[in-house]
Symmetry: D2
Subunit: 396 residues, 4 copies
């Protein structure tokens, strides 16, 4: 695949690192930046033949197969529009839009143009995430009841993130987009997200947007998604997911505790990791940052999908659903009530509720709990199906 | 101290273990149970001189200095009433009441009787919790912004817990009482809890009460408390606290990951730990269960406080505040809105809001963020105090 | 118990903290230090009625039931001699002697005097250690094959430790005494330690004694003990044990990773923990230091044993065995060969070797390995009992 | 690169997975197995055009650029000889030889033939290892004093491993080759390994070779390497490295604790990970097994090196050094003494010893230790340069 890279900032460089590493076949062949000097610098650093300060020129470059959008949030829509016009496949960094309305327009553009629209939700491609999904599909943890995702750090790298107009919000839009899609995958993408309750506040920074938020997303099957996001966390970048199912639990720590620990008195100060705050004392680097964050597996899926003419794991449609959930979160933070997720284009299961199933112990009783006692006996707690009476029973 | 123990169930035995261990001076001298045989069995096991099936007899035993209530929730109030009548000091297991109204009556009883009322919130006495509080007091993590506490396990041991009438509810009243008081300590007991938002559901068990809930508690100073409680967790008993402050973070794992890991093929099956679900494969015992759960430090504080004629760290008043917060949680789970915490007897700071303070970079700018780049440069993100413009600046 | 405390240094204070905490019944009633001012200061701090600069005066104080030796290593023997003369029970800090010869004399003194001789090997009393021992006794990990104990930190607190004459050596005598006794407990105290191989070096410090050593101890039943000790470790105090058995594994982390993690930017600098090196960045405090290090359980066992007229878990005899193993380690570090453990007074099993038992698969074959394949099949690796041929076999 | 794969067993498949994943450019174009059916099966599974039961045919296939040896240990030498004859570049799985003599012949073959000889020491390519090496090069942990590597699991997958003649030994040759080269990298490849002390035993299995061993490798600069290897470990595959330097410490856990934890009651049994022993209870999968084990970075370095006409990080020469160290280990296990590493072809620093440097406190004193006390004072322990006297000093 020949790639046109739009943008030359922090994330664009992370993408370029990944794409040109590990003897991959795909190549960036041109880079666009509003600032010609930045385009040139990135082209030099990654040995690219072309660079330009014209977005159209980059997209329309004749060799380009797919356009990779790594621009600030408010520039996603115009970039997608230009790709649709040029009939070039497009893959876009997260979040897709600043709002569901914006995302929906982008979704319609790619579908109408018949081009590929891949949503670069990297954290749904981390190796641990992919393995977790496999375990869940195999039934290892039963039915998912709760799926939490947390991303917190001391705040983003670039000025535009802190400007609500350009970014579309604060920690919710920046980090919540990851968390919402992670939970949604765990719970099941076909299950309808019904409503959202969200707390958000600007606790520390002198900005308009929220720097800390916690949200709950209720799904049609009774499962609950949870996101915890903050730009006020001290200690590095905390990326964790937790899933509770009827038959098990999954805990994933993607960044700060991955089996790599270093203590240093501070000799030989070097770069530790994205958003690390200190370079002495106990440090927790990751082995291969891009890999831990899902980039290699994400690009593999995207380009394989284009070649195989199939959908990638994460599509523009998924990006739209995420934006719709985040819209409801922002609304709830204002109204202080649960707010419905407005989905004009829902493509999953239509059910808004599912029947509960209880485990029977015998014809007359439900099983509430079975427990092994220190002496080896089993204690049963049962509920009578009709009288509702709760009783204890011992089994040797 | 000579102690009358009311109750002979799981928690009563845990208390007895602790009190009669480690060459402590205090002694249980009588035990009461509704069922005489149970009282006798416990008395035999712990070598107690007396046992009885009359609560009054136990309380009024002439040698008794303090009464230890380890009864089901619906029996706390009558037991406290009996202690007040007998003018015997009383310490009561958690939660204090099933509702704030009940707790308030108990608070008034002890205060009117002039007796000591200690609230046995053991998880506010774990060694890790006490050390965390010390660090917070020293300012190690700055102002607390968020304090989460989580307790989840596969459900309680005794039948009465599962009966809403007797217990006062489900996972919220059973486990949330711990979590709410932990967060409240971290944030500051003098800070007023204002309102609560709570999701609760009965996801798995055939019961009326909730078996899973998540709640947020907003405090007057802008801090947010969070509780996560469940009777549907698989994998043991998960007890974790996390605190985020402006200058740092604290993560406490009190039970499932404490630096003790064991793999066994299953030979020699033995008791592992409270609420452990398996006895083969990888197991995570704790060294000294009572200690990790805070019992020794709790009783030490209670009896020292009685002797020194001072308040313990956790009083009936604290128990009342906890119940008031849980009442609001239950209401919010019904109304699906934030609900005010109704406090008829608030004794802390009266302020309902506090002014925010931002860090100035210079006379004209606030500092949003300072970041070390891989090349060693410092990047500043600043906001103009009057225009609101956000700019980036490099500092070498 | 009324206790005479000999010594007023770091460890003496740690002991005093423990003994006078948690409403324990036992009391220190006098303290001895060579320097009267130090004795007075400790007496003031712990509210002791008496203090003295005469060791004999302290020991012979009429109310004293038991003498607690917390003196530098070279003063243990004279102190024990004085106790034996006074017929006062004695408990002595680790290591018992600087050499086996010294330890043996102390052992003989207490046995001839008919007094109690308790060996204060605290790390064989940590809650995690006691629970591990229980699991091993229950057979959870089968026969112990290998037991490693590691203690490393940046070096001891007091000057006398660094002086080989007073301490008897370096990291081996200071830390190895713990590790050797931990491994010996795991493997079985009745199993004879046969020989030792040890590497030792002075890698960092300008001292005569070793600041780093690794040793292997071969036991009669084929099990291997291992110790890793250093005064050159950076990052705090690393206390870990690992045990491998035929049916399982135990990993214990007693200090640096116990489920308590804190990040701080450095505001509010306070004391973190014994031998912590930093007070900012990521810190790993322990909840209750004395408890994690085994002091409360150790004193409980010692005083219970005196009252019950039984041996404590760790006796002067154990201290002697440890010294004999360390003597062999020092010798091996010189000769660069395995050196026999010279035990003039071995009281355990006399066997120097045990027969091996292999698992049979059928009459003709031993089972080497059974393994589950990804497809669910079981693969067996077998060895013919007479021909010795090794074959693979599938079982569905 | 077009690759001929020799071998079709467990490791061959792991290699094939890696090479054909993540849109890599390099391709396996033919596979050889002694058993034609096995060659065919692998060719089918990975969609290879060719397969053969003639090693020469595979090597001499005209399109082949490089030969990848994934054969049992006793077949490495004949395979390398065939490559040398055919003048085809060769990369060979670990260990290079069964003995240093064998490895040296292979080294000479490739050097005389002028072909590329890459040593597939994957664990020196794990992302955590590469990042650790970078930190060490930057000086973050100062001079390395001790480097330990541990690999233990319940035993290998294939029958030939258990046959000493074919494999060259037991756990030492199979696992020790990894550990020795890991430590050697940490300490510095240019530093001469001088002598080895090793304990080895057959503790559990009915085999001739050792199933458990511990070894120490002394380097010319005073650093010590350590390996712990076993085929008798229960609990999965334990892969850990620990490095102690004068300024810091690195702890790497490559497999069993990487931030991914799962509890399952056992529903939906699936494959967990290489050498996992259980599929219920608490499990610790890795995200991307090949990546965690270093395969992608290893092949990238190998093929980049061929194209860039440079040495890879791990060469046949390194493989030879490793075998020489293991030879000394086997000898030491027999003689029970330290045994010299016999290196006929050492290419690093010739020094056999290095001078020690101590830190001066002032003209007259060395600094032994500086320590922060709880009250904030600094305590210094100093040694007089000429008298050798050790003193304590306080600094406020």
């Amino acid at each position: 695949m020949n790639i046109a890279l739009l943008g030359s900032g922090f994330i664009a460089r992370f993408y370029a690192e990944t794409l040109h590493a590990q003897r991959r076949t795909d190549r960036i062949i041109t880079v666009y930046s509003r600032t010609a000097a930045n385009a040139k610098r990135l082209a030099d650093d990654y040995d690219l033949a072309h660079h330009t300060d014209s977005m159209e020129a980059a997209i329309n470059h004749e060799k380009v197969d797919v356009v990779l959008i790594s621009l600030p949030n408010h520039l996603h829509e115009p970039a997608v529009r230009a790709c649709a016009k040029a009939k070039k496949h497009v893959i876009c960094t997260k979040p897709l839009g600043r709002t569901a309305a914006e995302a929906k327009r982008m979704l319609e553009m790619v579908e109408e143009a018949g081009i590929f629209g891949g949503y670069l939700e990297d954290l749904c491609y981390t190796p641990k995430f992919l393995k977790s999904m496999e375990s869940i599909r195999q039934g290892s943890i039963g039915k998912v009841l709760w799926a939490k995702s947390r991303e917190t750090h001391p705040g983003p790298h670039s000025d535009w993130f802190w400007d609500k107009e350009k970014s579309g919000g604060g920690a919710i839009i920046d980090l919540g987009c990851h968390c919402v899609e992670i939970s949604r995958n765990f719970i099941g993408k076909h299950i309808k997200p019904l409503e959202v309750m969200c707390w958000a506040d600007t606790q520390v920074h002198p900005i308009e947007a929220e720097d800390h938020a916690i949200g709950l997303v209720k799904y049609a099957n009774g499962a609950i998604g949870q996101f915890e996001v903050s730009w006020a966390f001290r200690g590095g970048m905390d990326l964790r997911d937790e899933v509770m199912g009827t038959e098990g639990t999954i805990w994933v720590n993607s960044f700060l505790r991955t089996g790599f620990e270093m203590f240093t008195t501070g000799k030989g100060d070097g770069y530790v990791a994205e958003k690390a705050e200190v370079n002495k004392g106990w440090l927790f680097p990751v082995g291969d940052e891009a890999h831990e964050l899902g980039y290699p597996h994400m690009f593999t899926d995207m380009f394989d999908a284009i070649e195989q003419n199939r959908d990638p794991l994460e599509t523009f449609y998924d990006g739209y659903i995420v934006n719709a959930i985040l819209d409801a979160a922002y609304k709830s933070a204002e109204t202080k009530k649960w707010e419905s997720v407005v989905l004009e284009a829902w493509r999953g299961d239509s059910a808004d509720s599912y029947e509960k199933e209880f485990t029977s112990y015998d014809d007359d009783h439900y099983l509430i709990k079975e427990e092994m006692l220190p002496n080896g006996d089993k204690k049963l707690i049962l509920k009578h199906k009709t009288t509702g009476e709760i009783v204890q029973k011992m089994k040797q």
